[in-house]
Symmetry: C2
Amino acid sequence: MPYEILTPETLVDYLKSIDAMRTLFSSFDNLEVIEVGDGNLNYVYLITNRDTVTETIALKQAVPYLRVVGESWALTRERMRFEIQALEKHKLLCPDLAPEIYYSSVEMSVVIMENLSNQKILRGQIIEGKVFPFLADHMSTFLANTLYYTSDLYLSSGEKKQAVSQFINAELCNLTEEFVFTNPFEKHETNNYNEELSEKDIDFIQTDGSLKIAVAEMKYKFMNHAEALLHGDLHIGSVMTNENETTVIDPEFAFYGPMGFDIGAFIGNLFMSYFSHGYRQKLFGREPLEYRTWILDTISSTWNQFESKFDSLWEKHQNDKDPLYFDYPGGAADAKLQRQTFLKHVFSDTLGFAACKMMRRIFGLAKVADIADIEDLKERARIERMTLELGKALATQRDQYTCIEEVIELAKTISPLQ
Amino acid sequence: MPYEILTPETLVDYLKSIDAMRTLFSSFDNLEVIEVGDGNLNYVYLITNRDTVTETIALKQAVPYLRVVGESWALTRERMRFEIQALEKHKLLCPDLAPEIYYSSVEMSVVIMENLSNQKILRGQIIEGKVFPFLADHMSTFLANTLYYTSDLYLSSGEKKQAVSQFINAELCNLTEEFVFTNPFEKHETNNYNEELSEKDIDFIQTDGSLKIAVAEMKYKFMNHAEALLHGDLHIGSVMTNENETTVIDPEFAFYGPMGFDIGAFIGNLFMSYFSHGYRQKLFGREPLEYRTWILDTISSTWNQFESKFDSLWEKHQNDKDPLYFDYPGGAADAKLQRQTFLKHVFSDTLGFAACKMMRRIFGLAKVADIADIEDLKERARIERMTLELGKALATQRDQYTCIEEVIELAKTISPLQ
């Protein structure tokens, strides 16, 4: 059908028109339709048969504008095509870590998927202080599989280039270029500062030459280094979890970019959670040590497991594409060194992107609730300064860290683990 | 008209069917048709009205196979679309350095352009020992303009991404990936060695871990770093010259890749010419010093002028896209440092790609006549070893050179300037 914006009133008739929904729902007579915001861009509905509550779906529809601003900020619905393509790819590469897709329509900018009713958004749960013992394992698997299998290290040259051309996501990339890599680092009208931050705090970032150049380098890499299919927005609000399960959602920013961008997004968000819980745990009447230790362990495990899993995937396939290249005495050791050198660059990128993602959350339009919801503005500013300090160090010295433990130590220097 | 392979017999009727040709030629009754090979892939004809010899054109047609091998090696004609698009872009950006296009047809895989009858292919003229005083000036302008104006440093984010998608030149990129970055560096059946090279000479390259990793890194950068519209095959056989004019032709390998690839192709070819003329000039009964000095001067001038012109273009436009980013006391100096840091990376890439392009011409299928046409195989091997030595040093230590003069010194150490 031609595009129209669905409403709770028109949704049921729309579902009836879809074969897959007539299979899934035994009846459309008593459906519950709940609208749940998914963020800033789209409409999301959870629809359940009240008579048979296992018959339930999530429906997401893109509208031709930025929802959070309104119709004045036009945004094409093409983003839903990228989201559908990426969800399908994730499901293939990480079947346990991506939602099941029941139906999709590029024309209607709709995707209908499983209602993950037993999982919740990770950010909210981390704010509440919940622990997820499998999170690092799951996220490192997601990162290793999606980044390795969509790159030139695995795909044929032609397959990779075709994939790049299917994911030229200009409009949403442009949002990232502006709101992650540019505006927060200059005196831009879209910025939004905690009033307890001083001019000096702001200039610490916005007028520091080394940092400005480092951020511009990361932005250039984001725009030019088309090495793997990224989720593109992998903060902890794009992950759903329960104690045993993890699901990555909302890949509408998907495009071919530098691997470190996804890893850095996830890790950078966890560092902000680490800083925030020095305060939040006390609000809960708890000693912060235990929960903050879990956050830092999750950061180091995510990187270390990613590195190990990615290396294993690569090693397993390294000779498939070109059996001759390292076929000489000592060649296997050289191949190993190649993988290590490559992963060193991905690590540097990861730190640089984590840094940009952290700093922009302090000055830019889009905040993280972990920090921005702290009502005591002086306390919030203290945590914001920690974030800026870590961000600046990681962006400017990203090539100098040799392992994630060194970065953890720096975070602990900035905010002692207690 | 639907695609058919033109022949000297069918060419004239084809030209008659084109409006632009009926304007250009006052008569089709007495045309001279000369077939001139342009290399390995296509057919090229020079067509002149014998009665009015100023009425003359060059016509290039792609055939659906690799001409040098025959119909068994299929190659889509899509490459002509890339060549036409790139020629048009070059003409816009460097009107004096690109041929004038009279007509093109993607359907027929044909481009008709000016017959540069007063210019000859640069490689042949360098082999003969001719000097071109404006070559470095012209080539540095071509490189600065084509690389700057097609990059994110100038274009809007959306324009750049659209351009990338118009130049996904998978098939010809794959040829480069195989024949420049892979096969020459392993025991591959397509390689072709001078019989005077020893196993040790070959292993000096093919089993050296540092070099193999460096070449793999350059290949990965070639495949992933989509920063500017490249010519893609800018050796000295893709340039036509006379004493005053320079024209860059044959951009069918055009794609979005790393800037250093084009610069390195040109410079790497000149280093091979430098090595070859230690011998060739003596064959001509001349002292090599003067001509070899011109070659080295051309190399250093090409890089230094490129660097300066690129920096000027960038500086001129730096505030257009984002006037706020460096708008603070000291910001202009930071912006300058950003440009310098960027160009340092381009320089490193240039050396790495020059190195790969040199080494592949020694072991790989496609040779350069400068060296491969030397009949004394021992002398040829001596020059080939020099090329391999320079190539290996530049590939593995590409980050350590701070200016082109240091590289020139290295070349002079390998083959003293005399």
